[in-house]
């Protein structure tokens, strides 16, 4: 177990996505972590483990870490739940950070709880906010972690006062991404890959089979055009694509369209872990079950189009249009076509 007084610094797991780019959520975390490190007056470390980690270092450096600890090896091409935690465990023991930040992704959600266990420390998952506070009761310079609770109807504020590191996973899309201003550049620390592959207990048997999931990221979208049961038919749902294209947005759905096979499961908003924060969200024929509404609540502007005057989603909408969703959708597309507008969102 690490002693609180011995610990200093922030570790950020900079995950590489599809072994070809830095995960946007990792850059968002680096942005926020830079602010937290400045507030604490402690060092910020970016950790990169990948097939060819070197190619990402320049980009990562623009986000202002004080140091980048990196390792390149074919064995690191994909996240591995036996290799990465062991490497992180050694690094955490060596550098003793007081905070470990991990993106809330498949890899991150495997790494973070293992770190939590090995250091007998707390984990706060799916954080929507991170700040440094001084608490009379619990101490100074603590990481205050906020996350949704009770299916998103509450926000819980959590501290990890004594044990270290304080571990948090953060949803991609929560923080903005902003390269740091002029800084001195990061110390680059290269590691040798020393993991003994013979100790792996989960082994690959055959070549993997690729599965092409819907590649859009709803979490990153600036405009979301969503459809629900009230659209009544697949034909109507498919019009959402056209409107989304006109507004530079992505199509989202509630459970019903997915269930009815009007669209791919990847479009569904309202399952665990997917929150969106577009500038504009328009819901067509969506009544607003809690799981969906709490996932969209951070949208800047919410418009709901529904034949049901008392649809729950109206309570959280900025604009309510009491019309048949399919018909209004057609009309709106027609109007927009005549307007020849462009969209402001990038």
């Amino acid at each position: 177990m690490l002693k609180k007084a011995d610990c200093s610094g922030i570790f950020v797991f900079v995950e590489i996505q599809d072994h070809e780019r830095v995960l946007e959520g990792a850059l968002e975390m680096l942005t926020r972590a830079r602010e937290l490190a400045d507030r604490l007056n402690e060092k910020l470390y970016a950790l990169v483990m990948a097939l060819g980690a070197d190619e990402y270092l320049d980009e990562i450096e623009t986000y202002g870490p004080d140091a980048i600890i990196y390792c390149s090896d074919p064995g690191l091409k994909h996240y591995n739940s036996e290799i990465f935690p062991e490497m992180f465990e050694h690094l955490v023991k060596e550098y003793r950070p007081s905070i470990l930040l991990v993106p809330s992704t498949e890899a991150g959600n495997d790494l973070a709880p293992r770190m939590s266990h090995r250091f007998h420390t707390g984990l706060t998952a799916h954080c929507t906010s991170l700040e440094i506070i001084d608490s009379e009761e619990y101490g100074e310079n603590l990481l205050l972690m906020k996350r949704p609770a009770f299916s998103g109807n509450m926000v819980a504020s959590i501290l990890c006062p004594e044990t270290r590191p304080q571990v948090a996973t953060v949803q991609p899309g929560v923080f903005g991404r902003e390269p740091a201003g002029k800084r001195d550049g990061a110390e680059r620390i290269a590691l040798d890959f020393t993991f003994d592959a013979g100790t792996l207990r989960v082994s690959q048997e055959a070549a993997p089979v690729r599965w092409d999931r819907c590649s859009v990221s709803l979490e990153q979208a600036d405009v979301i055009i969503a459809g629900g049961r009230g659209l009544l038919q697949k034909e109507n749902f498919e019009l959402l694509d056209e409107l989304a294209a006109m507004l530079g947005g992505e199509v989202g759905a509630t459970r019903v369209p997915v269930f009815n096979d009007w669209c791919d499961e990847g479009r569904m908003i309202g399952q665990t872990g997917k929150t969106v924060r577009p500038r504009l969200y328009i819901g067509f024929g969506i009544s607003g079950q809690i799981q969906h509404t709490t996932s969209i609540i951070d949208s800047e502007i919410i418009v709901s189009v529904n034949i049901d005057d008392r649809a729950p989603v109206n309570e959280i909408s900025d604009y309510v249009i009491h019309e048949d969703a399919g018909r209004f959708l057609r009309l709106f597309i027609e109007k927009l076509r005549n307007e020849r507008v462009t969209f402001a969102c990038r």
């Binding site: 293992r114 009770f150 509450m154 819980a156 504020s157 501290l159 048997e205 959280i316 249009i321 009309l331």
Partner: protein
Amino acid sequence: MTDKEMNILVCVKQVPDSHKAKIDRKTGVLLRTADDSVMNPDDAHAIELAVSLKERYGASVVAMTMGPEHATDVLYEACALGADHAVLVSDARFAGSDSYVTGKILARSIKHLGDYDLIITGVEAIDGSTASVGYHIAEYLDIPLVRQINKIDIAQGHARLERLYGHEYQQVKVKLPFVMCADKETNEVRFPTLSDISRCYEKHIHRLSMENIGGKEEEYGLAGSPTIVVSSESFSHSRAREKIEGTPEEKADHLIHELKRHDILKY
């Protein structure tokens, strides 16, 4: 095919039923109905996975939960779905435990009960969990953990699994024992028969307390938890709720106007 019957243990949790939650229309605040509790949805998928393996290979399935006395409801439900044995891990000193401590309690309980070939948990609990309890168990018992399982075959002390990772279905092999996590992607939960439901209340509940699993009081409960919830706020849903009036055409025009005003649309 394994010679002896497999031993499978499933961890289940009782949670408040958030699907029944309503939001007060005036204030936008959550109205919590008292005592509407259900089995955590992911955990039902875990039981289903265990029972389907039992049907294929022959196994004894233990359902275990950590909670107060009324958590026996989920144990009865697990038995109606096909679990053979039920264990309640309960102790006033466990109250307020966070995920790390809960994982430790469950892992110690499992160790106390004996050896298992498979341990299955749900991925995540709907009442604000960290999706980490399965991990704490796997780490404590020093066994592998596999998620997102599409297919599973068991033979000669090994499991061959097809699991989804990223954009790939990987074919992997793991030696028993290990931990598996299930959720709605894993399977569809069966409907128990009426006779299963009526019989399940006859199941004996084996009870474990701190004395059984060992450890010191200060390791458990609120005091033993590394994290603490310092406050909980209702999410306020205050929005303009402006109802756009007029003919459908007028409404569309008005909406376009508003989107321009908000700088979403430009000429």
